[in-house]
Assembly symmetry: C2
Homo-oligomer: 205 residues x 2
Amino acid sequence: MGAASEDISIRKSDLTRIRVMDSAAKVLRLRGYAGARLSEIADNAGLKPANIYYYFESRDALIEQVMEVGVQRGFEAVREAVEALGSEASPLDRLKSAIMAHLQSNLAQDDYASATIRCLGQVPDDMRERQLALERGFGHYWRMLIAECQADGSVRSELHASVVRMLLLGMLNWAVEWYEKGELSPEQVADQAVSLFVDGCRPRD
Amino acid sequence: MGAASEDISIRKSDLTRIRVMDSAAKVLRLRGYAGARLSEIADNAGLKPANIYYYFESRDALIEQVMEVGVQRGFEAVREAVEALGSEASPLDRLKSAIMAHLQSNLAQDDYASATIRCLGQVPDDMRERQLALERGFGHYWRMLIAECQADGSVRSELHASVVRMLLLGMLNWAVEWYEKGELSPEQVADQAVSLFVDGCRPRD
């Protein structure tokens, strides 16, 4: 066995790892932390349940890695949308883009983001603590977006920035619980959220 | 044993039932569906774990009853607040009162309401279905409050009533996940939610 075949076997095992995580994200999104069974996760990934332990130390270790990716991807989707606007964009346009991207990524594209939101209130305390620490960076980013809007007057200053931020994230995150494909697309729901939130924040005449 | 002593024993067992449910609500609020242990629930209620099965058929049956009470109490708190305004109140004042009452009941007063919100996304599918059926009545009530505001123009008509309703409930429900006693009281958080939502909904000039 030379270096080349070792490389291939490493890559194969990485691919299986990703397949298991993709499957876990899908099952967690549907069933939540308590309801997600390793047997269903393994089945969807084309593995025997026991073989999952070759890739992940425990059920919780697998779930925690899915949630880490969920936070990272959600954060990336938002940051990319905001940065795509370029440096000339107004703070309010940046905030609008962030809301659109976050809600669309929650509702449409990404099992990881939905799985993460769904599970956050359900996992054991120590996992939850580590997860919240990870999310702090994402939280800072939202805080910055809102602070910029308060600085230029597009969000009125008497609103309490961190309460408003958490109310907004609640609006966006809870949508995972009620949204079903049908009458309205994720984009249309996101439009309503932007309309509601931005008008809710603007200065009174 | 006459009828009188039978009555007393029925009442005693009802009181223990309520004590178990109160304890379960507290533990579920803190730990969610997956994390709530019967041993902790029993302990707080001053019972041995096995004795819980004298009052409830199963762990899930106990949790389901807590969640039923949670919906009923949340609904009652909102309806009472709205009805206390009297029949002359404007639709917008009725909606404001409902938001205040719902958020305050979620954050401050009631383990049952918080436990219910916390657990809703976590319980097995069949429990979740029954729970959502129960909540439909509460949902209709919010729909009516918003429809009245759209009818008199205090909520702009281009907002999609049911999306706006679910975004609002998300804002109010998710607060259970992040609110900690400290800087702001539940009432102050509720004020911010009212301010944000009502301004977000009003007609544009």
